[in-house]
């Protein structure tokens, strides 16, 4: 039997003003990171509703990462502070549900930090891959 190589599925929500641009910069500088990372653009990290994170896990994502502006540098003044608090609560709830802490992360990446973006994604993807598949929240009704 042929064993298919395990590839984690990672959803990254990126703030349009900083980390999305940071990801573009990583691209400009040709800094590699795993193709398992798929980016969704949001206007601000505070646009990410906890239900989006839950939805991703329900649909079989193995890891979810949110990237926003550094504290104090939010394009909308204070959005990333809300993100920080909301996700702290959500991640501790997910932890309670048995979703390992390493599968979720909030990271601050500015538009100038292409190298940090790539390094963050490499590190995150490696940690998620080490945990293996995530089945705990997967909703089989979603799988057609």
């Amino acid at each position: 039997m042929q064993v298919k190589e395990y590839k984690p599925l990672i959803v990254a929500f990126c703030c349009n003003w900083c980390s999305y641009a940071g990801a573009d910069l990583a691209g400009n500088n040709r800094l590699n990171y795993p193709a398992d990372v798929k980016i969704i653009r949001v206007p601000c990290s505070c646009r990410v509703n906890p239900t989006f994170v839950l939805r991703a896990f329900q649909r079989g994502a193995d890891g979810v990462i949110l990237c926003g502006c550094h504290p104090g540098d939010c394009h909308y003044t204070s959005g990333n502070y809300y993100t920080r608090r909301r996700m702290a609560l959500l991640f501790s709830m997910l932890d309670y549900l048995g979703i390992e802490r390493e599968r979720t992360r909030v990271e601050w990446v500015s538009a100038a930090e292409g190298a940090k973006f790539a390094a963050t994604m490499n590190d995150f993807a490696e940690k998620v891959a080490a945990l293996g598949e995530n089945k705990r929240l997967e909703d089989l009704r979603c799988k057609k």
Binding site: N16, A35, K38, R47, V48, R55, G79, Y82, S110, E113
Partner: protein
Amino acid sequence: MQRIGVFVCWCGTNIAGTVDVVAVAEALKKEPGVVFSANYQYMCSQAGQDLIKAAVKEHNLTGIVVCSCSPRMHEATFRKTAAAAGLNPYMVEIANIREQCSWVHKDVPTGTEKAIILGKAAVAKVNLNVPLTPGESPVTKRALVIGGGIAGIQTALDIADAGFEVDIVEKKPTIGGKMAQLDKTFPTLDCAACILTPKMVDVAQNEKIRIFSYSEVTEVKGFVGNFDVTIKKKARYVKEELCTGCGACTEKCPMKKVPNDFNLNMDTKRAIYIPFAQAVPKVATIDADYCNMLKNGKCGVCSKVCAAGAIDYTQKDEFISEKYGAIVVATGFNPISMDKFDEFAYNQSKDVITSLEFERLTNAAGPTAGKLLRPSDGKHPEKIVFVQCVGSRCDACNEKGKEYCSKICCMYTAKHAMLTRDKYPDTDVTVFYIDVRTPGKNFDEFYRRAVEEYGVHYIKGMVGKVIPDGEKLIVQASDLIAGKQLKIDADLVVLAAAIEPDKSARPLATMLTASMDTNDFFTEAHPKLRPVESPTAGVFLSGACQGPKDIPETVAQAGAAASKVIGLLAKDKLTGNPCVAQSNEMMCNGCSTCERVCPYGAITYEDKEFRMPDRSTLIRRVASVNPAVCQGCGCCTVACPSGAMDLKGFASEQIIAEVDAICK
């Protein structure tokens, strides 16, 4: 149901090199809603855009997905294309398969697979897109320039020339900035004051320009076209409107031992002072840290000698609120502190100075009236050593200095060396360098003149240590070309200190929500195509606050920033961002949660009449969003407990559709 067209761009080989564009176009054709798909070499070219327009007409498309470069690059282009084809511009979504796919992944199968998934997410989103119409907001036709150096001065003059009002906020008592401290300027060697001070006078005399000197910006609210700014006018204890700048007070003030920061503390000034003779505004300022009257109520000489009656010891900081349409940041630079560079004995010996101090020593208006004398004993130095790259181009791990090249030091050191040899031909001048960098018009010719005509000794190698030895300084250095260690004595050592952004820039960036790089230089909206704009709309960058620059570059950038500001202020109305929050009144329960999290105060509550099924009416409190004030962060959408709030263009349904498409 939407009728979606998918357009996959090759971007030459940028995308097509690692992504099988034909396969992507074919795969996306099978997605729900997609009725047409195509691939083309350069979708952003005129031919590519024509292809999109033709497809919209031929296939009656209602939505467009472009798989291409980052939306930060060409989203606006393709939105215009859609509008030209008669579609609502907000029916376009971009799948970023260049920066976030082909450029970061190496093999074709991986790249193709990811590009298809990103395309699917974009298709899923477009399926739920609705046409959006942006609102309009008025433009306050006045600009604010923060910083009154040559960058700020040039920007203000150019904006005022176009007929718009400009305010300059300068934290020092006079405008002029660093250029006012310089002696001569490379590569033409014309005197800095001769070209700067007429411009300062122009600023003072221009009816459209107001100068807030000795002032700081303390608060910025609002958005492009409508900024509300609070300016703190620091108390200078002199009534600006009465002071004639005669200088009688500065002569009579008994407090003579105040360090003169304009001369980099190489001499002293009085407690009441005018920084230099050509200061604009020419108004005296009292240094509250040294004034006897302000400290212990004993003195009052300046008020007795002031014929105009301008002295006011009770003056308080004043706060001014003003509205602006555009803000230009021109906060400039400073040489870094030499405190951490013990090896050069800067703090041990008075005869180790920085280049800016050297500049004051050779300036006719400086502490030595332009005579090059050693700060320690006032003797003429016979041997001078210049050290380049002090704190510039340091290792990342070396926390003392900066990683970047400060850009101006090679040229001003060549200037200093040349001027010294010109004025005092008997002086021996040696320059230690890593590389000599002279990219600029007539720059290399200038440097070669210093070496060939003026006989300046250039030695490739770094100085390791400067040791004070009696009246002399012993310089230990390596000569990389001869491959030996040198030990030479010198009378004066001049350090070309790295330059860094002014310390006021970081808090200002936070106020403006403008982004900065890791060195605290402001970042531009696009490094090549939008070099004078900040990513924050309505905020522009001028001069060295964006990166090390010499005077010609600074003036060029100042003019460019001004033209961008003029373009903005010339508009009567600005088209806003239609991606704003919207409340569903039927679901809103009037709890005020969204109002509390909104950073812009865009949400208010109103009582609305609702018709009940039994035909009675009910008055309920519901949220309403002011689309002109809302900036579209979406914070309220997550805070809303009843799910009534949503963000146009980034609706919850749309983001969930993207998540689903990615996780399928």
